[in-house]
Amino acid sequence: MISTLRLMTLSTLLYLSGGLTAIAGELVIIAHPSIQHPLDADFVSQLYLGKQRSYQNGIDFIPLQLPEDDPLRRQFTEQVLNKSPSQLRAYWAKRIFTGKGKPPSSAVNRNQAIKLVLEDRQFLSYADIDTIDAKQFRVIRLK
Protein backbone atom coordinates (compact mmCIF):
# COMPACT_ATOMS: atom_id res chain seq x y z
CA MET A 1 0.00 0.00 0.00
CA ILE A 2 2.68 2.41 1.08
CA SER A 3 4.90 1.48 -1.81
CA THR A 4 2.05 1.98 -4.30
CA LEU A 5 1.46 5.41 -2.83
CA ARG A 6 5.16 6.16 -3.05
CA LEU A 7 5.22 5.00 -6.64
CA MET A 8 2.28 7.23 -7.45
CA THR A 9 3.95 10.24 -5.83
CA LEU A 10 7.12 9.48 -7.73
CA SER A 11 5.36 9.25 -11.06
CA THR A 12 3.46 12.45 -10.36
CA LEU A 13 6.73 14.19 -9.55
CA LEU A 14 8.34 12.82 -12.67
CA TYR A 15 5.41 13.96 -14.72
CA LEU A 16 5.48 17.44 -13.20
CA SER A 17 9.22 17.90 -13.56
CA GLY A 18 9.11 16.53 -17.07
CA GLY A 19 6.37 19.02 -17.81
CA LEU A 20 6.25 19.97 -21.44
CA THR A 21 9.22 17.78 -22.27
CA ALA A 22 7.16 14.71 -21.61
CA ILE A 23 4.35 15.96 -23.80
CA ALA A 24 6.29 17.57 -26.61
CA GLY A 25 9.15 15.14 -27.10
CA GLU A 26 12.76 16.24 -26.88
CA LEU A 27 13.78 19.85 -27.45
CA VAL A 28 16.93 20.11 -29.56
CA ILE A 29 18.90 22.88 -31.25
CA ILE A 30 19.03 22.59 -35.02
CA ALA A 31 21.68 23.97 -37.35
CA HIS A 32 22.71 23.49 -40.95
CA PRO A 33 24.37 20.05 -41.41
CA SER A 34 27.62 21.68 -42.57
CA ILE A 35 28.14 23.46 -39.25
CA GLN A 36 31.24 21.97 -37.64
CA HIS A 37 31.58 24.16 -34.57
CA PRO A 38 31.14 22.58 -31.18
CA LEU A 39 27.87 24.33 -30.42
CA ASP A 40 26.58 23.85 -26.92
CA ALA A 41 23.64 25.04 -24.86
CA ASP A 42 25.70 27.85 -23.24
CA PHE A 43 26.74 29.27 -26.58
CA VAL A 44 23.19 29.00 -27.91
CA SER A 45 21.90 30.78 -24.82
CA GLN A 46 24.41 33.64 -25.27
CA LEU A 47 23.47 33.83 -28.93
CA TYR A 48 19.74 34.12 -28.19
CA LEU A 49 20.42 36.75 -25.52
CA GLY A 50 22.44 38.81 -27.98
CA LYS A 51 25.66 38.44 -26.00
CA GLN A 52 27.56 36.63 -28.73
CA ARG A 53 27.06 36.16 -32.43
CA SER A 54 29.87 33.97 -33.65
CA TYR A 55 33.06 32.17 -32.87
CA GLN A 56 36.28 34.00 -33.76
CA ASN A 57 36.76 32.12 -37.01
CA GLY A 58 33.18 31.14 -37.50
CA ILE A 59 30.19 32.59 -39.25
CA ASP A 60 27.75 35.09 -37.81
CA PHE A 61 24.82 33.05 -36.60
CA ILE A 62 21.28 34.34 -36.86
CA PRO A 63 19.18 32.80 -34.10
CA LEU A 64 15.54 32.26 -34.98
CA GLN A 65 12.74 32.26 -32.44
CA LEU A 66 9.48 30.40 -32.90
CA PRO A 67 6.25 32.41 -32.56
CA GLU A 68 5.21 33.58 -29.07
CA ASP A 69 2.34 31.12 -28.88
CA ASP A 70 4.41 28.05 -29.70
CA PRO A 71 4.83 25.91 -26.56
CA LEU A 72 8.34 24.99 -27.71
CA ARG A 73 9.37 28.61 -27.39
CA ARG A 74 8.34 28.67 -23.77
CA GLN A 75 10.18 25.43 -23.13
CA PHE A 76 13.29 26.77 -24.88
CA THR A 77 13.13 30.02 -22.90
CA GLU A 78 12.88 28.20 -19.60
CA GLN A 79 15.24 25.32 -20.31
CA VAL A 80 17.99 26.96 -22.36
CA LEU A 81 17.77 30.65 -21.52
CA ASN A 82 16.90 29.89 -17.93
CA LYS A 83 14.25 32.62 -17.81
CA SER A 84 10.51 32.86 -17.62
CA PRO A 85 8.81 34.45 -20.65
CA SER A 86 8.23 37.68 -18.71
CA GLN A 87 11.83 37.77 -17.46
CA LEU A 88 13.00 37.43 -21.05
CA ARG A 89 10.66 40.24 -22.11
CA ALA A 90 12.00 42.51 -19.35
CA TYR A 91 15.55 41.61 -20.43
CA TRP A 92 14.83 42.68 -24.00
CA ALA A 93 12.95 45.80 -22.95
CA LYS A 94 16.09 46.90 -21.11
CA ARG A 95 18.35 46.10 -24.08
CA ILE A 96 16.07 47.75 -26.66
CA PHE A 97 15.53 51.00 -24.79
CA THR A 98 19.18 51.39 -23.78
CA GLY A 99 20.41 50.71 -27.30
CA LYS A 100 22.24 47.50 -26.49
CA GLY A 101 20.56 45.22 -28.96
CA LYS A 102 17.34 43.78 -30.24
CA PRO A 103 15.75 40.37 -29.79
CA PRO A 104 16.13 37.60 -32.37
CA SER A 105 13.46 37.65 -35.03
CA SER A 106 10.73 35.07 -35.05
CA ALA A 107 9.96 32.63 -37.81
CA VAL A 108 6.34 32.61 -38.91
CA ASN A 109 6.01 28.99 -37.85
CA ARG A 110 8.05 25.83 -37.23
CA ASN A 111 8.13 24.93 -40.93
CA GLN A 112 9.63 28.25 -41.90
CA ALA A 113 12.28 27.94 -39.17
CA ILE A 114 13.22 24.47 -40.41
CA LYS A 115 13.30 25.64 -44.01
CA LEU A 116 15.54 28.62 -43.23
CA VAL A 117 17.98 26.50 -41.22
CA LEU A 118 18.27 24.02 -44.10
CA GLU A 119 18.69 26.71 -46.72
CA ASP A 120 21.19 28.98 -45.04
CA ARG A 121 23.98 27.93 -42.68
CA GLN A 122 23.73 31.25 -40.78
CA PHE A 123 20.37 30.32 -39.29
CA LEU A 124 19.96 28.39 -36.09
CA SER A 125 16.78 27.35 -34.37
CA TYR A 126 15.25 24.74 -32.12
CA ALA A 127 12.77 21.97 -32.70
CA ASP A 128 10.97 19.00 -31.27
CA ILE A 129 13.12 16.07 -32.39
CA ASP A 130 10.07 13.91 -33.05
CA THR A 131 8.78 16.35 -35.64
CA ILE A 132 11.90 16.71 -37.79
CA ASP A 133 14.06 14.46 -39.91
CA ALA A 134 17.11 14.55 -37.63
CA LYS A 135 19.45 13.27 -40.33
CA GLN A 136 19.01 16.48 -42.33
CA PHE A 137 20.35 18.73 -39.57
CA ARG A 138 23.22 19.21 -37.26
CA VAL A 139 21.29 18.40 -34.08
CA ILE A 140 22.52 19.56 -30.69
CA ARG A 141 20.99 17.69 -27.81
CA LEU A 142 20.63 19.56 -24.57
CA LYS A 143 21.30 16.72 -22.16
Binding site: Q46, K51, Q52, N82, P85, Q87, A93, K94, I96, F97
Partner: protein, 409 residues
Protein backbone atom coordinates in the same frame (compact mmCIF):
# COMPACT_ATOMS: atom_id res chain seq x y z
CA UNK B 1 18.47 88.43 -40.78
CA UNK B 2 15.49 87.42 -42.86
CA UNK B 3 17.65 87.00 -45.90
CA UNK B 4 20.11 84.87 -43.98
CA UNK B 5 17.30 82.56 -42.94
CA UNK B 6 16.24 82.28 -46.53
CA UNK B 7 19.77 81.36 -47.56
CA UNK B 8 19.82 78.64 -44.93
CA UNK B 9 16.69 77.16 -46.39
CA UNK B 10 18.20 77.42 -49.87
CA UNK B 11 21.29 75.57 -48.68
CA UNK B 12 19.07 72.77 -47.44
CA UNK B 13 17.86 71.99 -50.95
CA UNK B 14 20.97 70.26 -52.29
CA UNK B 15 21.16 68.25 -49.07
CA UNK B 16 17.56 67.17 -49.42
CA UNK B 17 18.15 66.21 -53.04
CA UNK B 18 21.17 64.09 -52.12
CA UNK B 19 19.29 62.48 -49.26
CA UNK B 20 16.27 61.65 -51.36
CA UNK B 21 18.45 60.15 -54.10
CA UNK B 22 20.28 58.00 -51.56
CA UNK B 23 17.05 56.76 -50.08
CA UNK B 24 15.54 56.01 -53.48
CA UNK B 25 18.61 54.03 -54.55
CA UNK B 26 18.80 52.25 -51.25
CA UNK B 27 15.14 52.13 -50.37
CA UNK B 28 15.69 49.13 -48.13
CA UNK B 29 16.96 51.12 -45.15
CA UNK B 30 15.74 49.05 -42.27
CA UNK B 31 13.91 50.77 -39.45
CA UNK B 32 12.05 49.81 -36.31
CA UNK B 33 9.74 51.51 -33.90
CA UNK B 34 9.27 50.67 -30.24
CA UNK B 35 7.49 52.31 -27.38
CA UNK B 36 6.74 52.02 -23.70
CA UNK B 37 4.55 53.61 -21.15
CA UNK B 38 3.18 53.68 -17.64
CA UNK B 39 -0.29 54.47 -16.38
CA UNK B 40 -0.27 54.99 -12.67
CA UNK B 41 -2.06 56.32 -9.70
CA UNK B 42 -0.65 57.09 -6.29
CA UNK B 43 -2.08 58.10 -2.96
CA UNK B 44 -0.07 59.77 -0.23
CA UNK B 45 -1.64 60.08 3.19
CA UNK B 46 0.40 63.01 4.45
CA UNK B 47 2.31 65.70 2.67
CA UNK B 48 4.06 67.04 5.76
CA UNK B 49 7.33 65.85 4.34
CA UNK B 50 6.88 68.06 1.32
CA UNK B 51 6.93 71.11 3.52
CA UNK B 52 10.42 70.32 4.71
CA UNK B 53 11.65 70.15 1.17
CA UNK B 54 13.93 67.35 2.23
CA UNK B 55 12.14 64.42 0.71
CA UNK B 56 12.95 62.73 -2.53
CA UNK B 57 9.31 62.12 -3.33
CA UNK B 58 8.51 65.78 -3.42
CA UNK B 59 6.27 65.55 -6.46
CA UNK B 60 3.70 63.82 -4.33
CA UNK B 61 1.04 65.80 -2.60
CA UNK B 62 -1.54 64.62 -0.15
CA UNK B 63 -4.28 62.77 -1.98
CA UNK B 64 -4.53 60.87 -5.24
CA UNK B 65 -2.30 61.72 -8.18
CA UNK B 66 -2.19 60.19 -11.62
CA UNK B 67 0.60 62.14 -13.24
CA UNK B 68 3.73 61.44 -11.22
CA UNK B 69 4.77 58.17 -12.87
CA UNK B 70 2.51 58.13 -15.93
CA UNK B 71 4.28 58.58 -19.24
CA UNK B 72 4.46 57.56 -22.87
CA UNK B 73 7.58 57.07 -24.92
CA UNK B 74 8.50 56.25 -28.51
CA UNK B 75 11.78 55.05 -29.92
CA UNK B 76 12.69 54.86 -33.56
CA UNK B 77 15.82 53.40 -35.13
CA UNK B 78 17.16 53.63 -38.65
CA UNK B 79 19.57 50.86 -39.60
CA UNK B 80 21.66 52.15 -42.49
CA UNK B 81 23.55 48.87 -42.69
CA UNK B 82 24.51 46.16 -40.18
CA UNK B 83 27.20 48.44 -38.72
CA UNK B 84 25.51 51.82 -38.44
CA UNK B 85 22.20 52.91 -36.98
CA UNK B 86 20.59 56.01 -35.57
CA UNK B 87 18.20 55.86 -32.62
CA UNK B 88 16.04 58.51 -31.00
CA UNK B 89 13.83 58.12 -27.95
CA UNK B 90 11.32 60.71 -26.82
CA UNK B 91 9.68 60.46 -23.42
CA UNK B 92 6.54 62.41 -22.60
CA UNK B 93 5.91 62.42 -18.83
CA UNK B 94 2.37 63.21 -17.69
CA UNK B 95 3.75 65.49 -15.01
CA UNK B 96 5.21 67.72 -17.75
CA UNK B 97 1.84 67.75 -19.56
CA UNK B 98 3.14 65.06 -21.91
CA UNK B 99 5.65 67.43 -23.43
CA UNK B 100 8.21 65.11 -25.01
CA UNK B 101 11.89 65.28 -24.17
CA UNK B 102 14.55 63.64 -26.33
CA UNK B 103 16.35 61.51 -23.78
CA UNK B 104 18.30 59.47 -26.28
CA UNK B 105 19.46 60.48 -29.75
CA UNK B 106 22.59 58.74 -30.93
CA UNK B 107 24.48 57.13 -33.74
CA UNK B 108 25.62 53.54 -33.12
CA UNK B 109 28.56 51.88 -34.73
CA UNK B 110 28.53 48.11 -34.23
CA UNK B 111 32.26 47.74 -34.71
CA UNK B 112 32.18 44.02 -34.05
CA UNK B 113 30.12 41.50 -32.10
CA UNK B 114 31.88 42.63 -28.99
CA UNK B 115 32.11 46.38 -29.41
CA UNK B 116 29.50 49.11 -29.87
CA UNK B 117 30.52 52.75 -30.09
CA UNK B 118 27.77 55.32 -29.68
CA UNK B 119 27.77 59.05 -29.87
CA UNK B 120 25.07 61.59 -29.22
CA UNK B 121 22.68 62.10 -26.33
CA UNK B 122 22.51 59.17 -23.94
CA UNK B 123 21.09 58.60 -20.50
CA UNK B 124 23.88 58.39 -17.97
CA UNK B 125 24.26 54.86 -16.58
CA UNK B 126 24.72 56.18 -13.02
CA UNK B 127 23.27 53.15 -11.30
CA UNK B 128 21.90 49.73 -12.17
CA UNK B 129 18.54 51.05 -13.41
CA UNK B 130 19.46 54.62 -14.40
CA UNK B 131 19.51 54.23 -18.14
CA UNK B 132 16.23 52.31 -18.16
CA UNK B 133 14.65 54.24 -15.27
CA UNK B 134 11.73 55.32 -17.46
CA UNK B 135 10.95 51.77 -18.59
CA UNK B 136 8.78 50.51 -15.75
CA UNK B 137 8.41 47.08 -17.30
CA UNK B 138 12.09 46.31 -16.62
CA UNK B 139 11.98 46.32 -12.81
CA UNK B 140 9.80 44.83 -10.06
CA UNK B 141 8.81 48.06 -8.26
CA UNK B 142 6.45 50.81 -9.41
CA UNK B 143 9.62 52.96 -9.41
CA UNK B 144 13.10 51.97 -8.22
CA UNK B 145 13.66 52.90 -4.54
CA UNK B 146 13.58 56.69 -4.35
CA UNK B 147 16.37 56.70 -1.76
CA UNK B 148 18.79 55.86 -4.55
CA UNK B 149 16.81 56.94 -7.60
CA UNK B 150 15.63 60.28 -6.25
CA UNK B 151 14.62 63.15 -8.46
CA UNK B 152 17.71 65.19 -7.63
CA UNK B 153 19.98 62.26 -8.36
CA UNK B 154 18.56 62.78 -11.84
CA UNK B 155 20.15 66.23 -12.06
CA UNK B 156 22.60 64.88 -14.58
CA UNK B 157 20.33 62.24 -16.11
CA UNK B 158 21.55 62.59 -19.67
CA UNK B 159 24.90 63.28 -21.23
CA UNK B 160 26.13 64.25 -24.69
CA UNK B 161 28.92 61.81 -25.06
CA UNK B 162 30.92 59.27 -26.90
CA UNK B 163 30.30 55.91 -25.35
CA UNK B 164 31.89 52.49 -25.83
CA UNK B 165 30.40 49.19 -24.80
CA UNK B 166 32.56 46.08 -24.83
CA UNK B 167 31.36 42.53 -24.15
CA UNK B 168 33.27 39.36 -23.58
CA UNK B 169 32.84 35.92 -22.07
CA UNK B 170 35.24 33.90 -19.95
CA UNK B 171 34.05 30.41 -19.11
CA UNK B 172 30.63 30.88 -17.52
CA UNK B 173 31.10 34.57 -16.82
CA UNK B 174 29.85 37.27 -19.11
CA UNK B 175 31.47 40.71 -18.81
CA UNK B 176 30.30 44.06 -20.05
CA UNK B 177 32.52 47.12 -19.86
CA UNK B 178 31.11 50.55 -20.58
CA UNK B 179 32.86 53.89 -20.67
CA UNK B 180 31.98 57.39 -21.81
CA UNK B 181 33.34 60.87 -22.11
CA UNK B 182 31.08 63.88 -22.47
CA UNK B 183 29.26 66.90 -21.18
CA UNK B 184 25.73 67.82 -20.23
CA UNK B 185 23.45 70.78 -19.92
CA UNK B 186 19.84 70.55 -18.84
CA UNK B 187 17.13 71.99 -16.67
CA UNK B 188 16.21 69.63 -13.85
CA UNK B 189 13.39 69.55 -11.31
CA UNK B 190 14.32 70.58 -7.81
CA UNK B 191 12.35 71.06 -4.61
CA UNK B 192 8.93 72.66 -4.42
CA UNK B 193 8.34 73.13 -8.12
CA UNK B 194 11.62 74.96 -8.68
CA UNK B 195 13.86 73.83 -11.45
CA UNK B 196 17.54 74.53 -11.84
CA UNK B 197 19.92 74.60 -14.74
CA UNK B 198 22.76 72.15 -14.46
CA UNK B 199 25.83 71.75 -16.61
CA UNK B 200 28.92 69.57 -16.64
CA UNK B 201 31.90 69.03 -18.89
CA UNK B 202 34.80 66.62 -19.26
CA UNK B 203 32.73 63.95 -17.53
CA UNK B 204 33.83 60.38 -17.73
CA UNK B 205 32.55 57.12 -16.37
CA UNK B 206 33.66 53.50 -16.24
CA UNK B 207 31.30 50.63 -15.52
CA UNK B 208 31.90 46.93 -15.27
CA UNK B 209 29.15 44.32 -15.12
CA UNK B 210 29.83 40.66 -14.45
CA UNK B 211 27.19 38.04 -14.91
CA UNK B 212 27.24 34.42 -13.92
CA UNK B 213 24.03 32.46 -14.43
CA UNK B 214 22.15 33.52 -11.26
CA UNK B 215 24.56 36.25 -10.09
CA UNK B 216 25.07 39.75 -11.40
CA UNK B 217 27.61 42.29 -10.12
CA UNK B 218 28.12 45.88 -11.20
CA UNK B 219 30.80 48.42 -10.35
CA UNK B 220 30.55 52.01 -11.49
CA UNK B 221 32.67 55.10 -11.15
CA UNK B 222 32.02 58.51 -12.64
CA UNK B 223 33.84 61.78 -12.37
CA UNK B 224 32.14 65.06 -13.21
CA UNK B 225 35.13 67.34 -12.61
CA UNK B 226 33.49 70.56 -13.72
CA UNK B 227 29.85 70.61 -12.61
CA UNK B 228 27.61 73.58 -12.09
CA UNK B 229 24.17 73.65 -10.49
CA UNK B 230 22.69 77.12 -10.70
CA UNK B 231 21.72 78.70 -7.42
CA UNK B 232 17.99 78.47 -6.77
CA UNK B 233 16.20 81.79 -6.40
CA UNK B 234 15.46 81.32 -2.69
CA UNK B 235 19.17 81.04 -1.85
CA UNK B 236 20.33 83.94 -4.03
CA UNK B 237 19.56 86.66 -1.39
CA UNK B 238 21.90 84.89 1.06
CA UNK B 239 24.73 84.93 -1.49
CA UNK B 240 24.00 88.57 -2.30
CA UNK B 241 24.16 89.41 1.42
CA UNK B 242 27.48 87.62 1.84
CA UNK B 243 28.94 89.37 -1.21
CA UNK B 244 27.89 92.78 0.12
CA UNK B 245 29.41 91.96 3.52
CA UNK B 246 32.71 91.11 1.82
CA UNK B 247 32.49 87.33 2.11
CA UNK B 248 32.72 86.61 -1.60
CA UNK B 249 35.13 83.76 -0.90
CA UNK B 250 32.48 81.97 1.18
CA UNK B 251 30.01 82.37 -1.70
CA UNK B 252 32.61 80.78 -3.99
CA UNK B 253 32.86 77.90 -1.54
CA UNK B 254 29.10 77.45 -1.23
CA UNK B 255 28.22 77.67 -4.90
CA UNK B 256 28.20 74.48 -6.91
CA UNK B 257 30.13 76.09 -9.70
CA UNK B 258 32.86 74.21 -11.51
CA UNK B 259 33.01 71.71 -8.67
CA UNK B 260 33.86 68.03 -8.85
CA UNK B 261 31.19 65.42 -8.24
CA UNK B 262 32.01 61.72 -8.13
CA UNK B 263 29.67 58.75 -8.28
CA UNK B 264 30.53 55.39 -6.84
CA UNK B 265 28.09 52.56 -7.41
CA UNK B 266 28.03 48.93 -6.46
CA UNK B 267 25.11 46.70 -7.33
CA UNK B 268 24.49 43.04 -6.97
CA UNK B 269 21.60 40.92 -8.13
CA UNK B 270 20.78 37.34 -7.38
CA UNK B 271 18.11 35.45 -9.26
CA UNK B 272 18.09 31.89 -8.03
CA UNK B 273 15.18 29.59 -8.78
CA UNK B 274 12.24 31.80 -7.90
CA UNK B 275 14.09 33.91 -5.36
CA UNK B 276 15.50 37.28 -6.12
CA UNK B 277 17.68 39.67 -4.22
CA UNK B 278 18.93 43.09 -5.22
CA UNK B 279 21.40 45.26 -3.40
CA UNK B 280 22.64 48.61 -4.49
CA UNK B 281 24.92 51.13 -2.83
CA UNK B 282 25.80 54.63 -3.97
CA UNK B 283 28.29 57.14 -2.63
CA UNK B 284 28.43 60.63 -4.11
CA UNK B 285 31.10 62.93 -2.71
CA UNK B 286 30.88 66.55 -3.83
CA UNK B 287 33.82 68.92 -3.71
CA UNK B 288 33.49 71.50 -0.90
CA UNK B 289 30.18 73.30 -1.51
CA UNK B 290 26.65 73.70 -0.15
CA UNK B 291 25.76 70.37 -1.82
CA UNK B 292 26.07 67.55 0.70
CA UNK B 293 27.76 64.20 0.17
CA UNK B 294 25.36 61.34 -0.28
CA UNK B 295 25.40 57.72 0.83
CA UNK B 296 22.35 55.61 0.00
CA UNK B 297 21.49 51.98 -0.43
CA UNK B 298 18.64 49.52 -0.66
CA UNK B 299 18.12 45.82 -0.31
CA UNK B 300 15.26 44.06 -2.06
CA UNK B 301 14.23 40.47 -1.59
CA UNK B 302 11.48 38.84 -3.52
CA UNK B 303 9.95 35.65 -4.71
CA UNK B 304 8.13 34.72 -7.85
CA UNK B 305 5.01 32.62 -7.70
CA UNK B 306 4.31 31.90 -11.35
CA UNK B 307 3.23 35.20 -12.82
CA UNK B 308 3.21 36.96 -9.46
CA UNK B 309 6.25 38.54 -7.84
CA UNK B 310 6.11 39.57 -4.20
CA UNK B 311 8.91 41.80 -2.94
CA UNK B 312 10.09 43.72 0.06
CA UNK B 313 12.64 46.52 0.14
CA UNK B 314 14.45 48.38 2.87
CA UNK B 315 16.21 51.57 1.80
CA UNK B 316 18.23 54.33 3.44
CA UNK B 317 19.29 57.72 2.23
CA UNK B 318 21.76 59.98 4.00
CA UNK B 319 22.99 63.35 2.83
CA UNK B 320 25.28 65.23 5.08
CA UNK B 321 27.50 68.27 5.01
CA UNK B 322 29.66 68.91 8.07
CA UNK B 323 31.67 71.79 6.66
CA UNK B 324 31.50 74.85 8.90
CA UNK B 325 31.06 77.56 6.27
CA UNK B 326 29.83 80.22 8.67
CA UNK B 327 32.80 80.31 11.10
CA UNK B 328 34.59 83.29 9.46
CA UNK B 329 31.34 85.29 9.50
CA UNK B 330 30.79 84.58 13.21
CA UNK B 331 34.41 85.49 14.00
CA UNK B 332 33.99 88.78 12.20
CA UNK B 333 30.72 89.39 14.06
CA UNK B 334 32.42 88.73 17.43
CA UNK B 335 35.20 91.11 16.48
CA UNK B 336 32.96 94.05 15.62
CA UNK B 337 30.25 93.39 18.22
CA UNK B 338 31.71 95.80 20.84
CA UNK B 339 31.93 98.66 18.32
CA UNK B 340 28.92 98.02 16.09
CA UNK B 341 26.39 95.62 17.65
CA UNK B 342 23.86 96.22 14.86
CA UNK B 343 26.30 95.17 12.12
CA UNK B 344 27.38 92.20 14.24
CA UNK B 345 23.71 91.16 14.50
CA UNK B 346 23.44 91.34 10.73
CA UNK B 347 26.49 89.14 10.31
CA UNK B 348 25.20 86.60 12.80
CA UNK B 349 21.94 86.49 10.85
CA UNK B 350 23.92 85.73 7.71
CA UNK B 351 25.89 83.03 9.53
CA UNK B 352 22.64 81.45 10.77
CA UNK B 353 21.23 81.55 7.25
CA UNK B 354 24.29 79.69 5.94
CA UNK B 355 23.85 76.97 8.55
CA UNK B 356 20.10 76.71 7.94
CA UNK B 357 20.51 76.42 4.19
CA UNK B 358 23.21 73.80 4.58
CA UNK B 359 21.10 71.79 7.01
CA UNK B 360 18.00 72.06 4.83
CA UNK B 361 19.78 69.98 2.22
CA UNK B 362 20.70 67.27 4.71
CA UNK B 363 18.60 64.13 4.54
CA UNK B 364 18.21 61.13 6.80
CA UNK B 365 15.42 58.96 5.44
CA UNK B 366 14.49 55.34 5.46
CA UNK B 367 11.70 53.46 3.70
CA UNK B 368 10.05 50.10 3.77
CA UNK B 369 8.42 48.96 0.56
CA UNK B 370 6.18 46.02 -0.01
CA UNK B 371 5.02 45.35 -3.50
CA UNK B 372 3.38 42.92 -5.86
CA UNK B 373 3.79 42.55 -9.61
CA UNK B 374 1.69 40.51 -11.99
CA UNK B 375 2.89 39.66 -15.49
CA UNK B 376 0.43 39.07 -18.29
CA UNK B 377 1.17 36.79 -21.25
CA UNK B 378 2.11 39.81 -23.32
CA UNK B 379 4.51 42.66 -22.47
CA UNK B 380 2.19 44.16 -19.86
CA UNK B 381 2.59 44.11 -16.10
CA UNK B 382 0.57 45.56 -13.26
CA UNK B 383 2.07 46.52 -9.95
CA UNK B 384 0.90 47.64 -6.54
CA UNK B 385 3.19 48.95 -3.87
CA UNK B 386 3.09 50.44 -0.41
CA UNK B 387 5.97 52.64 0.70
CA UNK B 388 6.34 53.76 4.27
CA UNK B 389 8.77 56.67 4.45
CA UNK B 390 10.35 57.89 7.59
CA UNK B 391 12.04 61.29 7.65
CA UNK B 392 14.22 60.83 10.71
CA UNK B 393 15.66 64.34 10.63
CA UNK B 394 12.33 66.10 10.80
CA UNK B 395 10.35 63.39 12.58
CA UNK B 396 7.73 62.89 9.88
CA UNK B 397 6.48 59.74 8.36
CA UNK B 398 4.18 59.09 5.52
CA UNK B 399 2.67 56.29 3.46
CA UNK B 400 2.57 56.23 -0.27
CA UNK B 401 0.42 53.69 -2.08
CA UNK B 402 0.98 53.30 -5.81
CA UNK B 403 -0.46 51.21 -8.59
CA UNK B 404 0.92 51.11 -12.10
CA UNK B 405 0.41 49.43 -15.43
CA UNK B 406 3.59 49.13 -17.47
CA UNK B 407 3.84 48.05 -21.08
CA UNK B 408 6.16 48.13 -24.05
CA UNK B 409 6.07 47.14 -27.66
Amino acid sequence: MREQNFRHWLALFPCLLILSSISSVKADIDWDLHGFGTLSGAYMDDDAMNQTGSTEINEFERGVQYDVDSKLALQGSLHFNPQFSFTAQAVAPAIDDFEPEIEWGYLSWWVSDALIIRTGRLRRPNYLYSDNLRVGYTYPWVRPPSEVYSRDSQFFASVDAINALYNWTVDDWHFEFETYFGKSSRRADFIAGQSVKTSTRNDFGIFLSMEYDWLNLRFGYQQLPDSTIDTISSVQPLYDGLNVAGFGDIVDDLEVENKQIEYFNFASGIDYDDWLMLFEYIYIPVENSIAPDETSWYLTTGRRFGKWTLHYTYAERKRNNRTDFSAPVREQAALIAPVNPAAAGGLNFLADSIDTTRDLLAIDNESHYIGLRYDFDNPVAIKAELQQINDKRNGYDSELFSVALDFFF
